[in-house]
């Protein structure tokens, strides 16, 4: 059977699949990007049950359920069809995201609030687990053999573009709720954070409309017409030795390394800039946005190139570069944002103090902001909070909140360092959809490729920021200690991939 399609047809397939997948990534990442605000709204501090729910919801739930979504929806996709399954995942994702934006806060409905958010986050994770494999399979099964890497690489841009969209919408919303910048931020943290969640429903509605017009994958339709679809795809994927060994090889030789490289370059980098380097909230986001904009075309380049030279070596070189350059890159980020070796101009230092009475309370909050201007161009903002009681006593806040604003040169140097990391992401991620599609048979492809993908990205990758931060809290002497997790995982994956994978491009995925 001819799997190639007319150029116009394949463009429609790619567009319809990519738009939906991009929206699902957007939905998934706005929760992560807004996690501290969501935690403050739904998970009050000091209550152990709420703390437990907070930990589960913000820390792990969305990532851990992704492999289960891969199994549930993968099975459906291999039995019912690709088109309807990933239409269903889109509806579930859009519905749950919109609903998160509607849930009243803890103050209004008590424990029902965090429970509802946790459940909706689980639905998000399940839906994402089912989406990606469907979209990648769908596009690959419409593609001719010699352009499979190129066509599926469009799907590969969607995760990064989804992150970009979420960062952009959050920044725009945060700035546009009031003419006064501080008031706008306050409004965003109070209720405006819901807008990015509501916005999702518009995107999902458009995507559903587009996807409804699509046809089923030609390979799956043929299989179904011949009565050759799998009776039990999960059993065949995991219990059949010949297929299980490929699932394990895909996980340990490709997706686990790819997952940590993806999440280090685009998520841990953001956390590191904000916490270790103490770069300003807005600058951190715009740095990432620029780096993503510059690097995203490379997904297509490496996908295209993988059709010429094979998938394996592009992925392996990406892993190799990541393993050897993460520590120097992060060291450089620390140096650029360091103020300890630079001198502040004391005559330029500005101190502003504001006292705000707490409504209905017998105390006021005094916020002291100190602005220091360093020789290397960095402006450091140190915010200190004190509580002033009516009887004249004073309680000093324990931690100063520091944020640094970078001068133009340092700003672009950091953009370049994040860009390099995203180049590694494009190398390991650009060709991986084609690679995964080609190693599994059509009748169990949705299930089989989704599982290693979501184990690699949801478990190994998704945990990267958390594990790296946790390592930092254990081994406090080395600020770069968190990098050993992605480096070790990528290094093991590299060895396994180099030795066990082959570089063959499957000429026929119609089997």
């Amino acid at each position: 059977m001819q799997t190639g399609n007319a150029p116009n047809q394949i463009r429609k397939v790619i567009f319809a699949s990519s738009v939906g997948t991009l929206i699902e990534w957007y939905d998934f990442y706005i929760f992560g990007s807004l996690a501290p605000i969501i935690a403050a709204q739904f998970f009050p501090k000091g209550n152990p049950t709420a703390a437990l729910l907070s930990t589960l919801a913000t820390f792990a739930a969305g990532f851990i359920v992704r492999p289960f979504g891969a199994l549930v929806f993968g099975r459906l996709g291999d039995k019912v069809g690709r088109k309807y399954t990933f239409l269903l995942t889109l509806i579930l994702m859009g519905g749950s995201t919109f609903a998160i934006g509607l849930v009243p806060g803890y103050e209004t409905i008590g424990f029902a609030a965090p429970l509802l958010v946790l459940m909706l986050r689980l639905v998000q994770g399940l839906a994402l687990g089912g989406e990606y494999g469907g979209a990648a399979t769908y596009v690959a099964e419409h593609s001719p053999a010699h352009r499979r890497g190129f066509f599926t690489s469009w799907i590969q841009t969607t995760a990064t573009l989804g992150l970009l969209l979420s960062l952009g919408i959050i920044l725009i919303t945060r700035k546009s709720l009031d003419q006064d910048a501080a008031a706008s931020i306050r409004a965003f943290e109070s209720w405006g954070w819901r807008i990015p969640f509501w916005f999702s429903i518009i995107l999902v509605g458009m995507s559903i409309y587009i996807r409804l017009k699509m046809h089923e994958s030609p390979l799956f339709s043929k299989l179904k017409a011949e009565g050759k679809t799998s009776v039990n795809p999960i059993k065949e994927s995991l219990m059949h030795k010949g297929n299980l060994k490929m699932v394990l090889l895909a996980l340990f030789g490709a997706t686990m390394g790819q997952g940590v490289v993806w999440y280090t370059g685009q998520f841990y980098a953001q956390t590191f800039l904000e916490t270790a380097c103490q770069v300003d909230f807005e600058q951190t986001r715009t740095i990432l946005i620029w780096a993503i904009i510059f690097a995203t075309p490379l997904f297509i380049v490496f996908g295209y190139w993988s059709d010429k030279i094979g998938r394996k070596w592009i992925i392996m070189v990406g892993l190799l570069l990541a393993v050897f350059s993460y520590r120097p890159i992060y060291q450089q980020m620390l140096q650029i944002t360091d103020t300890q070796k630079s001198v502040a101009d004391p005559s330029a230092t500005r101190i502003e103090s504001v006292i705000n009475p707490a409504s209905g309370k017998d105390y006021s909050l005094q916020t002291t902001t100190t602005l220091q201007f360093y020789q290397n161009g960095i402006t450091e903002r140190r915010v200190h909070a004190d509580t002033l009681f009516a009887d004249g006593t004073e309680r000093s806040g324990s931690n100063d909140k520091i944020s640094k604003e970078l001068p133009e040169q340092s700003y672009w140097a950091i953009v370049a360092l994040i860009f390099i990391q995203i180049v590694f992401v494009t190398m390991v991620y650009g060709p991986i959809a084609a690679f995964l599609v080609e190693i599994f048979p059509t009748k169990i492809r949705y299930t089989s490729m989704s599982l290693p993908y979501h184990l690699g990205n949801g478990v190994f990758g998704g945990m990267t920021p958390f594990i790296a931060v946790l390592l930092g809290t254990i081994y406090t002497g080395d600020v770069l200690v968190g990098l050993w997790y992605p480096i070790a995982v990528a290094a093991v994956c590299l060895v396994i991939g180099v030795i066990y994978l082959n570089n063959r491009i499957d000429p026929d995925v119609n089997d």
């Binding site: 030795k241 958390f466 499957d506 026929d508």
Partner: protein
């Protein structure tokens, strides 16, 4: 090369056991050090989610040792054989 793949199979088995053992050791140390809800939940989650991964790694090592990866399949029929 096939001999290297097989010998490394044993390395993966040992590595999988050691890595998971280290994880369990760190979990118990950290929970003992700070037995709060957050610490217990976080480290228990790590222990639970990496258990199937560790088992998968052992199976992978075992299959490699058995020579299952000497020749990778070139068609779906070969995968299913």
């Amino acid at each position: 090369m096939n001999q290297v793949k097989k010998v490394l199979g044993l390395v993966w088995i040992v590595f999988g056991l050691t890595a998971y053992g280290l994880l369990l050791k760190t979990c118990s140390e950290q929970i003992e050090l700070k037995p709060t809800t957050d610490t217990i939940i976080q480290w228990s989650i790590f222990a639970i989610i990496f258990l199937p991964i560790a088992i998968g790694f052992l199976i992978f090592g075992w299959l490699a040792f058995q020579g299952a990866y000497d020749n990778l399949p070139e068609s779906s029929e070969a995968v299913e054989e």
